[in-house]
C-alpha cells in the first residue's frame, strides 16, 4: 500500500504543482488572483483534444500547438480584460471568475456537454511497486518536473528571472532601475498560461475532457497557494504535493469516504490559515520575496 500511496501521490501532486506554480507566479509578480487559471487549463485540454481527435494532427504537434494557442488566448485575455484594471484586485478576481465561466460556456457550446476521451501520447502501462502506471502518467509527471525545473532555472539563474524577482519584490524601485514592469508581467503571464496549457494537454488523456473540468482543480490550486504561502513559489509547489498526498491518503485509508478527497483541500487550507495564516513558507507583511 505504501508504494501505491507514494506513486499515486506523486502523480496527483505533480499535476496540482504545475497548476499551482502558474497561479503563484502571476500572483507573486502581478498581484493578480487569476481565478480563470484552471479554465485556461481546460482550454489547453480542449485544444489538445481538438488537434488530435477533430483535426487528426499528430499528438506531439497537437501538444505543442495546444500550449502555444492557450498562451495566445491567455495573453489576449490579459491584455483585453485584466491589464487595464490590474490595480483593483477585487475587480480582477470578479472579472476572472466571469471569464472562467465564459470559457466554460464557450466549450459547452462548441464541444457539447459530453465527456471526451483523448488518445494518450504513448499507449500502455507498466507496474511500479505494484501500481499500474500508464505511460501517459510518466509523461505528465515528467513534463511537470521539467516545467518546474525550467521555471526555477529561469527565475534563479537568468537575467530575466532576476528582473521578474525584482518586480515581485518592489515594482516601483524596479521600474526606477530601468526594468520594464509591464513587459515582465506579460512574460509571467506567458509562463503561467503555458504551464496551465501544459497541464491540460498532458492530463487530458488521463482523465476526460469536459466543460466543468476546471472547477475541482481551482479549489486545490487556491488551497495549495494558501497552504504553501501567498507569495512563495516554492511553497505553492510544496502545498500542491501536500494536497495531492492528502487526497490519496483519504482514498486508501478511508475508501468509503473517497468522495471527500476534494473536501480535504479546503479542510487543510482552513487549518493552515488558523495555525499559520501566512502559510507554511509564506511571506510576512513586512517583507516580500519570490
Amino acid at each position: 500500500m505504501i508504494g501505491n500511496i507514494l506513486i499515486n501521490g506523486l502523480l496527483t501532486g505533480g499535476m496540482y504543482a504545475t497548476l499551482a506554480l502558474g497561479f503563484a507566479l502571476v500572483f507573486s509578480v502581478g498581484r493578480i488572483v487569476n481565478m480563470a487559471h484552471t479554465a485556461l487549463y481546460m482550454v489547453g485540454a480542449y485544444l489538445f483534444f481538438s488537434g488530435v481527435r477533430l483535426f487528426g494532427i499528430n499528438v506531439w504537434i497537437s501538444f505543442a500547438l495546444a500550449i502555444v494557442l492557450a498562451v495566445l488566448v491567455g495573453v489576449a485575455v490579459f491584455k483585453l480584460f485584466i491589464d487595464r484594471i490590474k490595480e483593483h484586485e477585487t475587480a480582477v478576481m470578479i472579472i476572472t471568475v466571469a471569464l472562467a465561466m465564459l470559457f466554460q460556456e464557450i466549450c459547452l457550446e462548441v464541444f457539447g456537454g459530453r465527456f471526451r476521451a483523448v488518445d494518450p501520447f504513448i499507449a500502455g502501462s507498466v507496474e511500479v511497486f505494484g501500481t499500474t502506471v500508464t505511460y501517459q502518467n510518466f509523461i505528465a509527471i515528467g513534463s511537470s518536473a521539467l516545467a518546474l525545473i525550467a521555471v526555477w532555472f529561469v527565475l534563479k539563474k537568468t537575467k530575466i528571472g532576476f528582473a521578474i524577482r525584482a518586480i515581485a519584490e518592489d515594482g516601483e524601485i524596479a521600474n526606477v532601475m530601468g526594468i520594464d514592469g509591464s513587459r515582465m508581467q506579460l512574460l509571467v503571464i506567458v509562463m503561467s498560461v503555458g504551464l496551465a496549457g501544459l497541464a491540460g494537454a498532458t492530463t487530458a488523456p488521463i482523465t476526460m475532457v469536459s466543460p466543468q473540468m476546471w472547477m475541482g482543480p481551482l479549489v486545490v490550486v487556491l488551497a495549495a497557494v494558501v497552504i504553501g504561502g501567498l507569495g512563495s513559489i516554492g511553497g505553492s509547489v510544496l502545498g500542491a504535493f501536500i494536497l495531492g498526498y492528502a487526497e490519496i491518503l483519504v482514498v486508501f485509508l478511508v475508501p468509503n469516504g473517497s468522495f471527500l478527497r476534494g473536501v480535504v483541500s479546503l479542510g487543510l487550507m482552513i487549518l493552515v490559515l488558523l495555525i499559520k495564516p501566512e502559510g507554511l513558507f509564506g511571506v510576512t507583511f513586512e517583507e516580500e520575496r519570490l
Binding site: M1, N8, T12, R114, V118, S125, T134, N256, S258
Partner: protein, 446 residues
C-alpha cells in the same frame, strides 16, 4: 410621453416573457417531459420522447373514443442534480402553465419526491422514471388520496438490485470457471447518492451468501475526474470483481481508466449511461468487457421490442439508449391506457393503470403493485419484466443475462424474487466473458 411609451414597452416585454407560448390546437395532447436535459441521460430521454411523439403522430395520433389527437412533447429542464428547487419550479410550470395532460420523467429520487406533491395537488398523472428509491412508492401508500396519480413504470431499487444480482450470479459462475477461483473477491463502488447507499448496504448483506467476499467499499464523487487512486486501491485489495453503481460524470472516467490501466477485475454493475455507442466512443473503446444493466437490445423482449429497435436505429443511426427506451416505453404505455380509457383525465386513468395486468410494453410487460401494499404503483418485476445485463464486446453490446438458468435460491429466498426464469434466454444471448487481461493476471498469480 416618452416615459409612458417606455413603461408600455417594459410591460409588453414582461407579458411576452411570462406568457406560456403559443396556444396549441385543441386536438393536441401534451406530454410534459421532465429531467436534467443538460446531462447525457436527460438528452437521451428527450430523444426517446421525441421519437414517441413522431411514432404516435405518424400513426395518426391517439384515439380517444371517436376522435384522434396528435401528441406534443414539452421539455422541462429540472436541473435536478444541482437544485431541487429548480426541479420543483420546472414541474410547477409544466402542470400549471403548460397544462400538460401527463408528466413523464423525474430521474433523481431526491428531486422527484417533491415533484410528486405538485402532481398530486394538481391531480396530474405523473409517470416516474427512473427514480428508483422506495420512498417514492411508500409515500403513495402513506398519502394515497393525494399521490395516487403517481406511477413508476420503471424499476425500483429493489427491481434494479434483483436484475443486478441475477446477472451477478450468472457472471460469477463464469468468473469462477475462467479464473479458477472458488470464492471471488468483490470491490463495491457506488457514488454518494441515495440509491448508492441503498445498494451498498444491500450488497454487503447478500453477497457473502452468494459465495463471494467483499474486500472494500469505495465511494468516489459523482463528478470525479480521476479515479486512478481508487482503482489502484481496488487492485491492491485483490478484487476479482468490481460491482459498481454509478451515474453522472464519473461513469466514463472510471470505465476508461479501468480499461486503460487493465485493472484485473471484471467490471459489472449499474452504469446508467454505459449502453450507448456514444459512451463506448467516449471511453476510447476502453469500455470493452464492461457489463451493465440495460433495458433494450436487439432481442425480442416483447413483441414490440424489435420493431422499436429497428425503427429507432434507422431514424437516429444508433442503438436506442436506456434513457430513450425508458421514456419511449412509458409514453407508449400511457397512450395505450388512454385509448383503453377513452380519456386522458387523470382520475379516469388511475384505476385503469392500477388494473394493468401484463400489458405488453415496448421492452417489459406492465403490471403495477396494488394500492394497499407497502409500495403501490411500482412496476412488478418478473420473467417478462426484468431488464437485461449486457456486456461490451468489441464495440457491440451483447446480452449476457437472462441466460436461461433459474435464479439463485438465495435471490428467491432473500430477495423475494419470483421464479420462472428457467429457459428464458433470448436469441443472440452469449455467456459472460472475463476481460482477457484479468484472466492472464490471475493465471500468472497462481
Amino acid at each position: 410621453m416618452k416615459r409612458k411609451l417606455f413603461c408600455l414597452m417594459v410591460v409588453g416585454m414582461c407579458m411576452l416573457f411570462l406568457s406560456p407560448g403559443p396556444a396549441l390546437a385543441e386536438d393536441v395532447l401534451k406530454v410534459g417531459v421532465i429531467g436534467p436535459t443538460k446531462i447525457t441521460y436527460g438528452r437521451q430521454a428527450w430523444q426517446g420522447a421525441q421519437f414517441a411523439e413522431e411514432t404516435i403522430n405518424q400513426a395518426g395520433g391517439i384515439q380517444l373514443k371517436d376522435k384522434k389527437y396528435k401528441v406534443k412533447v414539452i421539455k422541462a429542464d429540472s436541473n435536478c442534480y444541482a437544485s431541487t428547487p429548480d426541479a420543483m419550479a420546472a414541474m410547477e410550470r409544466l402542470v400549471t402553465v403548460d397544462k400538460v395532460d401527463v408528466v413523464v420523467g423525474g430521474v433523481r429520487s431526491e428531486s422527484t419526491i417533491p415533484m410528486m406533491d405538485i402532481a398530486g395537488d394538481n391531480k396530474r398523472l405523473f409517470l416516474i422514471l427512473p427514480s428508483a428509491d422506495l420512498e417514492i412508492s411508500s409515500r403513495i401508500a402513506e398519502d394515497y388520496d393525494r399521490l395516487k396519480y403517481c406511477f413508476r413504470p420503471s424499476f425500483t431499487t429493489t427491481g434494479t438490485a434483483r436484475t443486478l444480482m441475477a446477472g451477478f450470479t450468472a457472471m460469477t459462475r463464469q468468473v469462477k470457471a475462467q479464473l479458477g477461483v472458488e470464492r471471488p473477491k468483490v470491490a463495491l463502488v457506488a457514488i454518494q447518492l441515495k440509491f448508492g447507499d441503498t445498494l451498498i448496504n444491500f450488497w454487503k448483506k447478500i453477497l457473502p451468501a452468494l459465495g463471494v467476499d467483499v474486500v472494500g467499499v469505495w465511494r468516489p464523487a459523482q463528478s470525479a475526474s480521476d479515479v486512478t487512486a481508487e482503482l489502484t486501491a481496488i487492485k491492491a485489495a485483490g478484487a476479482h470483481i468490481i460491482l459498481a453503481a454509478l451515474v453522472g460524470p464519473v461513469e466514463p472516467v472510471l470505465v476508461k481508466q479501468w480499461g486503460e490501466m487493465q485493472i484485473p477485475a471484471a467490471l459489472y454493475g449499474l452504469i446508467l449511461n454505459g449502453t450507448t455507442d456514444e459512451f463506448y466512443e467516449g471511453t476510447n473503446g476502453f469500455a470493452n468487457y464492461m457489463a451493465t444493466f440495460g433495458n433494450c437490445a436487439a432481442v425480442p423482449l416483447t413483441e414490440r421490442t424489435l420493431p422499436y429497435y429497428t425503427a429507432f436505429q434507422k431514424r437516429y443511426n444508433e442503438a436506442p439508449s436506456t434513457g430513450a427506451t425508458n421514456m419511449y416505453s412509458a409514453i407508449m404505455f400511457w397512450k395505450d391506457m388512454a385509448e383503453r380509457a377513452g380519456s386522458v383525465d387523470s382520475d379516469v386513468l388511475v384505476p385503469v393503470l392500477e388494473k394493468a395486468d401484463n400489458e405488453i410494453g415496448t421492452v417489459i410487460n406492465y403490471t403495477f403493485t396494488k394500492p394497499g401494499s407497502p409500495n403501490p404503483h411500482d412496476a412488478v418485476w418478473g420473467p417478462k419484466a426484468s431488464g437485461l445485463i449486457q456486456q461490451w464486446r468489441d464495440g457491440k453490446m451483447k446480452v449476457v443475462w437472462p441466460d436461461g438458468h433459474e435464479l439463485h435460491p438465495v435471490l428467491i429466498k432473500a430477495m423475494g424474487c419470483p421464479t420462472g426464469f428457467e429457459g428464458v434466454r433470448y436469441e443472440g444471448t452469449v455467456d459472460y466473458v472475463v476481460p482477457p487481461w484479468a484472466v492472464k493476471y490471475w493465471k500468472n498469480k497462481k
